[in-house]
């Protein structure tokens, strides 16, 4: 995992972009600053919740790996892509 990815997550949390994101139970996400909305699937909802709770990519990946019984490296690839996509949506 690159250090740059950690910086992206710190930025998303530190600038209140991710904590401010409103996500409903059915995956509808609304960014109150930009007015943009998008949808995330069930795994995405879990990932956002874990990232906010842990503030750590490693801990989030470990938890998702256990929860979904998927190898760590596969989860890490998915989480990396997801964080980069979030940073584009919440730019």
């Amino acid at each position: 995992m690159s250090a740059e990815l950690g910086d992206i997550l710190r930025d998303l949390i530190g600038k209140d972009r991710l904590p401010a994101l409103a996500i409903s139970a059915n995956g509808f996400a609304f960014d109150p600053r930009s007015g943009q909305s998008f949808t995330v699937n069930h795994t995405g909802i879990d990932t956002v919740e874990l990232l906010l709770a842990n503030g750590s990519i490693e801990a989030t990946v470990d938890e998702l790996s256990k929860r979904y019984d998927v190898p760590v490296d596969v989860v890490l690839g998915g989480v990396e892509v997801f964080i980069r996509q979030l940073s584009r949506y919440l730019a």
Binding site: F30, G35, A91
Partner: protein
Amino acid sequence: MKHLSCIKPDWRNWTVGITGVNARPDNPGPGLAVARCLRESVGFSGRLIGLGYEVLDPGLYNAAIFDASYLLPYPSVGSEGQWERLVEIHATERLDVIIPCLDAELSTFAHNEAQFASQGIRMLVPTLGQLRARAKDNLGELCRRLDLDTPETLKVSDIGFFDRCREEGWSFPLVVKGIYYDATVVESPDEAKSAFHHIAAQWGYPVLVQQFVGGYEVNLTAVGDGKGNMLGPVMMRKRALTNKGKAWAGISIRDDELERMGRIIMEGLNWQGPLEVEALRGDDGRLYLIEINPRFPAWVYLTKGVGCNLPQLLLRQIAGEHPTGLPSPKPGTLFIRYAEELITSLEQFQAMMVDGVLIAPGEKNAPRNLIGRS
């Protein structure tokens, strides 16, 4: 003849004149939205008077909103013509307040403010100095003074500029803008020249050229108390546009940086009255000031939708209530604009055409069951 003794302290009973009741779907004026906000204000039982410039301004015939409607002379007639016509209307209607809603008329209203006050007609509008400071061709200077980002802008009166602008450090796309209205994004010198001629023919010189900034537009509307304070800011992002770039749908947002920009402008100018800030969240993440409009925007009905009815707040401010502790608007409330037809009789059209006045019968403040009205 003075009518100061007739000033009514309670804004709920006021007679309010509202301009800008034009409502073409691609670019509606704010007047009808302002009037709807007041008509739907809890407790408001006053009269609303529609003031239009064109005999086909639909607001003039909207009997569900306006108690009476009058034609005004065009702003180009000057402040004297405006004054005489409004004194005439005042003699019949006993106006307590006027809310001007169009850029082009603001300077004549500001010029006549003291005269109107002497007749008991109140307004909260920017001063002539404030209007000059926020003018499109002065925006760069204002932004330098207030330390706000704005795209580089230049006054242009020679179309040769577009052939040599690259050598002077400009790059396409550019935005060609009229001094009062209109803006076109252009990708080449030929497109720029065409836009230049079109805008100059419609709005005169100088024409403004602005460096295009990629990103998305955000807007803020609020009321300034004239002492540097900003009241009731409501923010919005456009979600659908007309071909004139006006909002056809929008959603309320909360952007702390945009709110800060609004406060800086209010404080820096001691702004009084309504305003709209148009800003651009650039692809580089920075917030650029694009325009300051000295009036409520056409999307002002959203302010009622988010529980922060700004036209009502304006009346309360004029009444001396100085409202505080206003609710914080909730992000995520949408408006979607739609067009509808008003049916009016030949007699009503004739009354407006010949006499420039139409009195609408019926009770306005009783509960109404109108489709599309909340």
